[in-house]
């Protein structure tokens, strides 16, 4: 009965958004022309794939660098602590667009990083790892003190404590904020168009310049980003449920 009622509510929700969309479309009174935009679909798919690749490569490095930043912040070596803190403050306090311009044109030049894809990964990783280090911190600090004490008193070394006691408990609690961060990461790739990386947003802007079908282009963008973010959100929710069962 509960199962059946859930499907009724899902149906109502879909109907609500569909009607809302139709109403907006009707009031907007725009006649869509997909012919010109659809001609560019190989380029669009390529741009979308590039965004997907940028997202996952950056996420992979962000998870590692974020962990390094977290341990630096927890370190007993004061300068490491300060380096991590200053880095995080810089990333939190600067708009991503400003970082894109500064890191690509100024810092990138200083270090001779000419490859745009590599530059884009470095920029997104830098920005996201600061946030991810804070997500780690929140998750680890939420672990009750008694878990650390028990691990210590039974002779676990630091690595074993993290590996067998803390991290398995932290993973579950950091998944929800990580979903949010990942969705932000996907959307923030659009700002890389300022350094002319051929990701999804920049590709569509190029297509729009040729077709003049701007509205269609933005609709494709919205759908394209949702195709990435919705499965991510569902996958993480699935993992959360799995962990709930395991734990």
């Amino acid at each position: 009965m509960k199962f059946k009622s859930k499907y009724i509510h899902v149906g109502i929700t879909i109907l609500f958004y569909l009607l809302l969309l139709l109403f907006i479309n009707y009031r907007f009174g725009y006649s869509y022309n997909w012919t010109s935009t659809s001609r560019y679909y190989p380029v669009i798919i390529k741009g979308w794939t590039q965004t997907l690749l940028l997202t996952f490569v950056s996420l992979f490095f962000s998870l590692i660098i974020g962990l390094i930043l977290f341990f630096m912040k927890k370190s007993s070596i004061t300068c490491l602590k300060y380096i991590s803190k200053v880095f995080n403050e810089l990333m939190f306090g600067t708009p991503l667009l400003v970082l894109v311009v500064i890191l690509y044109y100024i810092v990138g030049n200083a270090f001779n990083v000419n490859n745009k894809f590599v530059s884009a990964v470095i920029i997104l990783t830098s920005y996201n790892s600061a946030y991810i280090s804070e997500i780690y911190r929140g998750g680890i600090e939420a672990i009750p003190d008694g878990q650390w004490k028990a691990a210590k008193v039974f002779g676990f070394n630091e690595f074993q404590t993290y590996r067998y006691i803390i991290i398995p408990q932290v993973i579950k609690s950091i998944l929800p904020p990580l979903t949010g961060q990942l969705a932000l990461l996907v959307k923030s790739t659009a700002l890389l168009s300022y350094m002319a990386v051929n990701e999804f947003f920049n590709t569509i802007m190029g297509v729009n310049a040729n077709t003049f079908a701007y509205i269609e282009g933005y609709v494709v963008l919205a759908i394209g980003y949702l195709i990435i973010t919705i499965p991510i959100s569902l996958a993480i929710k699935y993992m959360e449920r799995k962990l709930q069962v395991v734990q």
Partner: protein
């Protein structure tokens, strides 16, 4: 058990919690640490267990220097906390076997065999697959006791193991601890259960306001020499009656 404390001091910031504790105990098996709350007895026990730093002085347990040989001490001592502190993500069996496998390098089969045997002995075998949040307070504390016992420690340390339990669950846990006496296990217990301490302990240590005020065999409970112990016991017993 051999326990030696030499000029032990503990400070939290500027606050002196333990002041110059000196104690030498040999050939006693069960030490009961008693005293008013906030007097420093739990802190002292945690220092003996090696997870609270020693501000000044030396502690050795069964000739193991606590400061020098923390790792060895953790392998030779079992500890039961005030609240069970079981690993929350693991079931009862894994809470025990993970320590045996990862710290004591015992093979998985052997670890499971040891854990099952002890869980059966303490009437917990039917809870083997449960997570800590599915156990009652008394069951959790008994699992914590089995976990401490599974490493086959030379000494077990109990830090007020019944302080968070109701009288029925307290009885359940104390009953489990009494079994250890029958099995000739050495242990140190910090507790407010004076009647229990009198029944099981063969040496009493009374700590009051960070000082070791009186110590000796259990007869000191019936015939306290110091004003502080007299006051403490009269308060405990008047409350009980």
């Amino acid at each position: 058990m051999i326990l030696k404390l030499e000029n032990v001091k503990k400070k939290f910031g500027n606050q002196l919690v333990l002041d110059n504790i000196n104690l030498s105990i040999e050939d006693h098996h069960i030490i009961g640490m008693i005293g008013p709350s906030g007097g420093g007895k739990s802190t002292l026990l945690r220092m003996i267990a090696g997870f609270e730093s020693i501000t000044e002085g030396d502690i050795s347990l069964n000739t193991i220097d606590v400061k020098e040989n923390e790792e060895l001490l953790h392998k030779k001592c079992g500890f039961v906390f005030q609240s069970h502190n079981l690993f929350l993500h693991l079931n009862v069996l894994d809470n025990i076997t993970i320590i045996l496998e990862k710290v004591h390098k015992i093979k998985k089969d052997e670890a499971i065999k040891t854990a099952r045997l002890l869980l059966k002995q303490f009437g917990l075998i039917e809870h083997i697959e449960k997570k800590p949040d599915q156990l009652s307070g008394g069951q959790s504390q008994r699992v914590a006791l089995v976990r401490a016992l599974a490493i086959n420690p030379d000494v077990l340390l109990f830090d007020e193991p019944t302080s968070s339990l109701d009288p029925v669950l307290t009885y359940e846990v104390l009953d489990a601890i009494i079994k250890l006496k029958d099995e000739k296990k050495d242990f140190i217990i910090v507790t407010h259960e004076i009647g229990f301490v009198k029944q099981v302990a063969d040496y009493i240590v009374f700590i009051h306001e960070g000082r070791l005020v009186e110590h000796g065999d259990v007869s000191i409970i019936d015939a306290p020499k110091t004003k502080e112990l007299k006051n403490f016991l009269s308060k405990v017993f008047s409350w009980r009656h």
